[in-house]
């Protein structure tokens, strides 16, 4: 139990600080001073002491429960990943649930902005879920779905990053799509205010922000674990900082794409990545 609490706490704190770092780097690239690195963490904590209000149009109690569910599923991901080194397929299932919750957090409020975000989330699921199918390629290469066994495989055969680079690239595109201000962040585009988060205030917004931080940490953790191998905590931190810095550079220099273009681009990455990886698996 203590191990779970510690890992969840680390995931939340590191995820929040990395989001702050990302905003700082983006601001410096755009010649702005930018907010302090701990801004995202402060924001999250702030929402827990703000008054919570609920739209009278919301679908109760669904609207409240769905935000708590988002938190629960990412805590479950921490248990499956860093705590127990469980099944990648289970993390895949958790990501699928995340997409569902993301889409319904938007539509349950009755807000038109949330609704548009919901429709975009459905569209983006068509592109993001195939990207997550990269886990199947990892299975085909390593012969296991269990994270601890994948780490052992890489200890013997070297990092999977070298043997299935296209799969790693696909997973990186998935990570990029979950970064704030990314070219693929259509569910939270500024044209729809804050997307599915628009009508969530106080405690509920706090839950959403905690989930986002843990989700960011987990996606980076999965990337580093399944493509580089088991690392020491310091190397994990260094890897996460490098990945966050790369996404910050991309986000700072590219606009948010139009939803159709975003989906087509992600689908193209998925097709090239899946077909290319299968060819690599067959012939190399």
């Amino acid at each position: 139990m203590a191990n779970i609490l510690l890992n969840v706490l680390i995931a939340f704190l590191v995820g929040s600080i990395l989001f702050g770092l990302q905003r700082k780097i983006m601001a410096r690239i755009q010649m702005r001073p930018g907010p302090p690195i701990i801004q995202h963490l402060l924001h999250t904590l702030k929402f827990f002491i703000k008054e919570s209000s609920f739209p009278k149009t919301a679908a109760m109690p669904f609207y409240i429960a769905i935000t708590a569910m988002l938190c629960v599923i990412w805590v479950a991901a921490v248990i499956v990943g860093p705590v127990t080194g469980g099944s990648l397929l289970l993390i895949f299932a958790i990501y699928a649930l995340h997409k569902i919750v993301e889409h319904n957090a938007g539509s349950s409020s009755g807000s038109p902005y949330g609704k548009l975000s919901c429709v975009r989330a459905v569209f983006s699921a068509a592109a993001e879920v195939p990207l997550f199918a990269v886990l199947i390629i990892i299975y085909l290469k390593s012969g296991t779905m269990v994270i601890s066994n994948i780490i052992s495989y890489q200890t013997i055969h070297g990092p999977l990053l070298y043997s299935i680079p296209l799969a790693a690239a696909m997973f990186f595109v998935l990570i990029l799509s979950k970064a704030p201000y990314s070219p693929f962040a259509i569910t939270k585009g500024k044209d729809i205010v804050s997307g599915y988060e628009t009508e969530h205030f106080g405690l509920l917004r706090g839950y959403l922000m905690i989930s986002e931080s843990i989700a960011w940490y987990m996606l980076l953790w999965v990337f580093l674990t399944v493509f580089v191998g088991g690392l020491s905590p310091l190397w994990y931190l260094a890897g996460m900082i490098v990945l966050t810095t790369i996404t910050a550079f991309i986000n700072a220099t590219t606009p948010i794409l139009n939803p159709n273009h975003s989906i087509m681009m992600q689908v193209s990455f998925a097709v090239i990545g899946i077909v290319g990886s299968i060819v690599l698996l067959l012939y190399i």
């Binding site: 569910m69 099944s87 397929l89 895949f92 997409k99 889409h103 319904n104 068509a126 879920v129």
Partner: protein, 225 residues
């Protein structure tokens, strides 16, 4: 229990004659998730969707009326239970039956709405789902014919043959059509424009969870090692 499925230790199985329900951590997680969401849907009311009016600066609220609410809630609960069933069944034919039921109730959830665009989308989805029934059951039948069993626990120990791989492809096509995942997503997104967030959740939930389960099943049937 020393049975492992894709590296997951089986937590238990319930042999109901030919029908075998089994639970590994993945199946249990998805089964519980489906039941939790179904309970949530059963006790929730629907949102009032706020839409802008053309020609004025006013907004209008679009509500789900009580008759429509009752039938959609009933179908959503059936869909949730079918999804939960599809998560723990260890029987390939039961899985296809659950998927088929999910397709039928998904069409029902949306076709109870009185909006022309949404009904059109439901009609398109219905056509795809009906066509997909053939590869769905055909794939399962081919796997039965080539292995002599529909129990996934048994199939896990049978070496993969070309016919099993072909049956798997048909199964994949069938599930993709029934659940309306990519490339059939476009009509589904149209269906999501209607109010009734809890009911729309179950449409999305069922399709994504079934796809994850299908991946597990396909990896059980097609053993690359």
């Amino acid at each position: 229990m020393d049975i492992t499925i894709l590296g997951q230790q089986l937590l238990g199985y319930i042999p109901l004659g030919d029908i075998v329900l089994y639970m590994a951590p993945l199946n249990l997680f998805m089964f519980v998730s489906a039941l939790v969401f179904t309970t949530l849907i059963a006790i929730s009311r629907t949102e009032t969707q706020v839409e802008a009016e053309f020609g004025t600066l006013k907004d209008r609220g679009v509500k789900v009326d009580i008759k429509e609410f009752k039938i959609r809630r009933f179908l959503a609960i059936v869909c949730g239970l079918a999804t939960a069933g599809a998560m723990i069944t260890g029987d390939l034919f039961d899985f296809t039956l659950f998927v088929c039921l999910i397709g039928i109730v998904n069409i029902g959830i949306v076709s109870a709405v009185k909006q022309i665009d949404v009904l059109n989308a439901a009609f398109q989805y219905g056509l795809v789902a009906m066509i997909a029934t053939l590869p769905l059951f055909g794939g399962a039948a081919l796997i039965l014919a080539s292995t002599g069993t529909i129990s996934l626990l048994e199939i896990a120990n049978i070496p993969t043959t070309a016919m099993m791989a072909f049956g798997s492809i048909l199964l994949l096509l069938g599930v993709a059509g029934e659940t309306g995942v990519a490339p059939f997503y476009a009509t589904k997104a149209e269906m999501f424009r209607t109010p009734g967030s809890p009911f729309l959740l179950i449409i999305h939930l069922s399709s994504l969870l079934v796809i994850v389960r299908l991946i597990e099943i396909l990896l059980i049937i097609n053993k690359p090692f």
